[in-house]
């Protein structure tokens, strides 16, 4: 009996330690971690900035930045929103794809394409600090 109790006590203490340990791991991140994560994000923003000015996304040499310097007048903070010409409520990525297919005369990207995420990261970064207003025309 005594042996059984000891094992049970050990199990409870062990589980508690595990939980506490797990909790500590989840909650604590260092300045260095934050710096690394921000660096990862900014590397994708930089990739997006390069794509934004690149003639390679379409077929006619036109780049996003020709009409949208600093990604201005793209308004990522207003999506999802009703876009009457697309017939419904769409995401910012749908509008990027519309531009790729029309003014750039190219093919649309998959919504989870790395290039799409980079374009979205860049345009959204240029709009940082502006309040979210989903649905705003």
């Amino acid at each position: 009996m005594a042996k059984k109790h000891i094992w049970a006590a050990c199990a409870v203490v062990g589980a508690a330690l595990l939980l506490v340990g797990y909790g500590l791991q989840a909650d604590e991140f260092t300045d260095k971690d934050v710096e690394r994560w921000q660096g990862e994000f900014m590397s994708v923003v930089t990739e997006g900035r390069a794509l934004w000015g690149s003639p390679s996304l379409g077929t006619n040499g036109v780049a996003c930045g020709q009409c949208h310097p600093n990604a201005a007048n793209t308004h990522p903070e207003t999506y999802p929103k009703f876009q009457q010409q697309l017939g419904g409520v769409v995401a910012f990525r749908d509008m990027i794809n519309w531009c790729l297919m029309n003014p750039l005369e190219g093919k649309k990207l998959a919504l989870d394409d790395r290039q799409m995420i980079a374009l979205e990261a860049y345009a959204t970064y240029e709009r940082r600090g502006v309040a979210l207003e989903p649905g705003k025309h």
């Binding site: 036109v62 949208h68 600093n70 201005a72 003014p103």
Partner: protein, 358 residues
């Protein structure tokens, strides 16, 4: 209103043989003057950005903008005395682009003058453009008005001559509007000295109209809505009673009044640009009196582009914006307030939702 209707009828009469007459956005042309000998009109086409793909292929979207402006300008009644082309005929300054653009402009039925834009210049420093269009700065007199054309898109010698390994790279660096590797535009000492001399023979009561590609005022440096020596150029213009500066580059409606100088921007035929206030990360100095153009609807390829019909009946500019796929606008000098004003939307209460730019 009767006058406007009459004018529209006159215009329609002039264009009666054209099947597409209902599509032509020229319903507000005014032509009745007290002393017709003193009055004249001219048209202004700008920023066509003809872009070569390869071989005989060019970006169709930009081609259509210029072709349409030329076709419509040729239908004007009364005929304009001349046409100004306001710069950025090409996208990357190449021979194929300049040739293709010049060929389209050659279809104009009127004497055509041209202004140098940065997209025409920074590949070969304006050499081929000058072969096609002549000097980069000059003046001429027409019916009592002194016209001056400036090349306002020059920059520091070090940037132009020493910084870039190839001419192609120099062109690309200047062509990207928001490129931090770009450099501020300027008229420069040589032209300012020439301008001072040119104006020294002009009576102070003579209306002076200056054509430049960049604004001869400082709006937003980040996109070169800016001329670095704007104040020095303005100082040369201040002694004259009636001065107007008309500029391209910004692809949007802008107007301003600084002292005796009225400023008017013209639309592009290629594509519209955002107002600087739409860039959330920078401060800009947009003229407070400007009522913005309508926000562009990208689903209409030609929306927020167009060309201008300019009336100089008082020695001041009366600017009609002929806007494809949108309502036309008129911005005219108001002698009572001493500044350009929109004929319909100037008062805060008269503005419409699409004019809110954010």
């Amino acid at each position: 209103m009767t006058k406007t209707n009459l004018n529209r009828r006159d215009f329609l009469k002039g264009a009666a043989s054209v099947a597409a007459v209902s599509a032509i956005p020229l319903s507000t042309v005014e032509l009745a003057f007290a002393d017709p000998a003193k009055n004249f009109t001219f048209a202004y086409i700008s920023d066509s950005h003809i872009q070569h793909i390869k071989g005989s292929r060019f970006v169709n979207n930009w081609d259509r903008g210029l072709i349409r402006s030329v076709a419509e300008t040729n239908l004007l009644q009364p005929e304009p005395d001349f046409v100004m082309f306001g710069g950025d005929l090409a996208q990357l300054g190449t021979k194929p682009e300049l040739d293709h653009g010049a060929e389209m402009l050659a279809k104009l039925n009127y004497k055509t003058h041209a202004v140098m834009g940065e997209h025409d210049y920074y590949l070969d420093l304006g050499e081929y453009w000058s072969e096609l269009f002549g000097p980069q700065w000059y003046s001429f007199d027409h019916k009592g008005v002194h016209f001056v054309v400036l090349n306002s898109i020059l920059t520091f010698d070090e940037w132009t001559y020493d910084r870039w390994p190839t001419a192609e790279q120099r062109m690309l660096e200047m062509a990207a509007l928001d490129n931090p590797n770009g450099s501020p535009f300027m008229v420069g000492e040589t032209q300012r000295a020439w301008l001072a001399k040119d104006l020294s023979g002009v009576a102070k009561g003579t209306p002076v109209v200056v054509f430049s590609h960049s604004p001869i005022q400082k709006i937003y440096k980040g996109w070169n809505f800016w001329t670095d020596d704007a104040e020095e150029v303005q100082a040369l213009l201040i002694p004259f009673d009636d001065v107007t500066v008309i500029y391209g580059h910004v692809h949007q409606i802008q107007y301003n009044q600084i002292g005796n100088i009225s400023f008017h921007a013209v639309m592009a035929t290629a594509w519209p640009w955002p107002y600087p206030r739409a860039y959330a990360q920078a401060e800009s100095h947009m003229p407070k009196i400007t009522v913005p153009m309508n926000r562009a609807d990208p689903f209409f390829e030609r929306d927020a582009t167009g060309w201008q019909f300019i009336n100089l009946k008082t020695g001041r500019v009366d600017m009609k914006y002929n806007l494809y796929n949108n309502s036309d606008r008129t911005v005219a000098y108001n002698p009572e307030t001493g500044r350009p004003e929109d004929s319909k939307y100037q008062a805060e209460d008269d503005r419409i939702p699409p004019q809110t730019q954010y």
